[in-house]
Symmetry: C2
Subunit: 440 residues, 2 copies
Amino acid sequence: MMASASRLSLSNFHRPPPSTTIAELKPTFTPHTQPTNPTPESDATPSCPEPRKLKPSPQLNRWSRARAIRSGHKLDRPVSRTKAWEMDPPARSPETEVLQSPPRARDDDGELAAGKSIYMVSDGTGWTAEHSVNAALGQFDYCLVDRGCPVNTHLFSGVSWHFARGLILLIFCLRNAISKSLFIRYLRRLGLKFSPFQRLLEIIKQAAKEGAMLVYTLADNSMAESARQACRLWGVPSTDILSPITEAISSHLGVSPSGLPRGAPGRNFPLSEEYFQRIEAIEFTIKQDDGALPQNLQKADIILTGVSRTGKTPLSIYLAQKGYKVANVPLVMGVALPKMLFEVDPEKVFGLTINPVVLQTIRRSRAKSLGFGDDARSNYSEMDHVRKELEFASRIFAQNPAWPVIEVTGKAIEETAAVVLRLHQDRKNKCSMPRISKRY
Amino acid sequence: MMASASRLSLSNFHRPPPSTTIAELKPTFTPHTQPTNPTPESDATPSCPEPRKLKPSPQLNRWSRARAIRSGHKLDRPVSRTKAWEMDPPARSPETEVLQSPPRARDDDGELAAGKSIYMVSDGTGWTAEHSVNAALGQFDYCLVDRGCPVNTHLFSGVSWHFARGLILLIFCLRNAISKSLFIRYLRRLGLKFSPFQRLLEIIKQAAKEGAMLVYTLADNSMAESARQACRLWGVPSTDILSPITEAISSHLGVSPSGLPRGAPGRNFPLSEEYFQRIEAIEFTIKQDDGALPQNLQKADIILTGVSRTGKTPLSIYLAQKGYKVANVPLVMGVALPKMLFEVDPEKVFGLTINPVVLQTIRRSRAKSLGFGDDARSNYSEMDHVRKELEFASRIFAQNPAWPVIEVTGKAIEETAAVVLRLHQDRKNKCSMPRISKRY
């Protein structure tokens, strides 16, 4: 369906001049200083049920609402904001000033507990915005969900002409019997308007209503400019993630950026050697999982070994995504290790170890999810067994001093992967400045 | 080994006051305006052989060297640079000005072809820097490796006290019999000095020498400040990726960032529900690969179907990493599809399709790498067979109109994943503003 859609072209489907977009659309927005939906729950996303992962504690909600009532604050934040976090704040027009209210006192109690929102908008996949926000949020995890200041992120990806055109054509192809007005009504019901500029402004409008901040990665310059203007106009704090780095690279290379988001026509992903290498690595790693096919260990770039639940599988998969063929060999007491493990280059073998208490917690959770009976569980997750198995692993590691042993306790998969790759590159390159290099 | 190292504490291992770092270290650096190694090949990383992925075409090198000689340009760029791409350029000290030469004319020919370098420095995993640079480079792919302006990226991760301390302790534990001077010499040979500030400055010095630009994600404020100062001093164009978004979020939440990079002590990764969910999704997806265990299709969040080599496996794995349980069912002519596929909720089934010419190219490469004989190859990758199989898939898709069909031609795995998740969320939430939401 999408296949045929993306191959068609709609000649009368032109992009409007970006300079007119804000002006055209401005009158349609009335700032909701007095929200029509007085309850905070219904205000944020009127027709949208909360997705699975969003489970705000009812107790927390009651508590924050009670505090808000006591303090006289509204939980639904008004549209006007204190400060726009643009790196280069332009002078505000008088019109903008009218829309803006004076700086507001911070309400650290009720509102924080209710959860702040971060909107992420992208004309591509949105993964860069998600990744960057996730990394930055890492510095606030001391106060996130469990400590009373949860953050909700909302990713709006594919806000681009390409996506809009593809989707409209898709629907058009499916419903070409319907009348134009019905077609437009159908589109509106989906929340999609013809122009991605309109979609962008709808999102920013919603962000203003919800008191959210906006983070955007918009390769198309006119889209980025529209986002900037709309955020300034409606007082939404915003950060452009992509432009600073794109501009810096542009200046460094001495060439201009294409302005095309990922997935745009004319920006087809090439079937490069790297692409095939990555696919091959993933397929190799899946086949090699959990000690399967030990005869292939020789072909692996990296071999991981450790007792059950040290995270060998997810780590293997993460490294495979980066183009490394990974094999993992479990260490199980009483089960002989494949001979091949001791015959391969020891420089590519990595041991994983973990704190026994943490391992027991993970194994208990695992045993529960697998529906193990009490007997099986005791053998697998009881402290005595866990300790013995870790000692067994330690002895094997001691017998193979060339294998680095990585402590995975309290590390995310990405962190362990970074350590493995750092050591892998250092050992391979014997480099005075350890680095992971790549050619584009 | 690292396990025991990270559990130890070194009481006399204090962090020096950051303000003194640059001043202390400055005299050790003499700008290499006249490089000691006259050939560009040996100048960049004297003791470091190029890693596997870096295979500059000899023809390209000869060509660029010839052009450089003709134009009188040096291939090894001098240390002084035109512009530091700091978002908030502070006033330069007179001392800085002395070190800086006047803006240089751009040399678009020889130097571009030789390949420009981007250094990425992180006190964490470095994946945010890598991801952002990769996304930004997407806008220059019209001129990257195949078009004569290759870019080399070099990732230096774990440039932090935590990492330095861990590694030093590791070596100390291993070699505690050796003398202090031998120990320090050993460390120097590894290119590691005691202070991550020193390591940071070494990297920036090398970037200046190589004419590279610097991109950094340093959670530790004093490290970020040192990077900024050193880059300004040595004329290295630099971009701070993390600070703008961290500051914006800090202001939005009304709390300060911890300043701790990933993997730092006290920033242990929690064993959250999300962590277990992700691991479970990866394990489910691996077991379910290539149509295995069709009785489990019911348990999947997303089911992908398509003919061989439409990228079902890498796409499944990518989505699994994001916490979705994915099953993939191959469509093979003459092989009956599992009944369960038509019994599950059709809203979670996605068809993949691809251009036959591209599919043939991919299959040929696959057949070659698998070492298929000519007979087997003809059946698998011949155009007639490819077309028939795609028609067979189309018929199945037509019989199941509720399955969206995604065209994967020319799309990276990440792009197809974005489309799948967008549709998945839209269908699940019936939301007026399609979005992917998450709670932190």
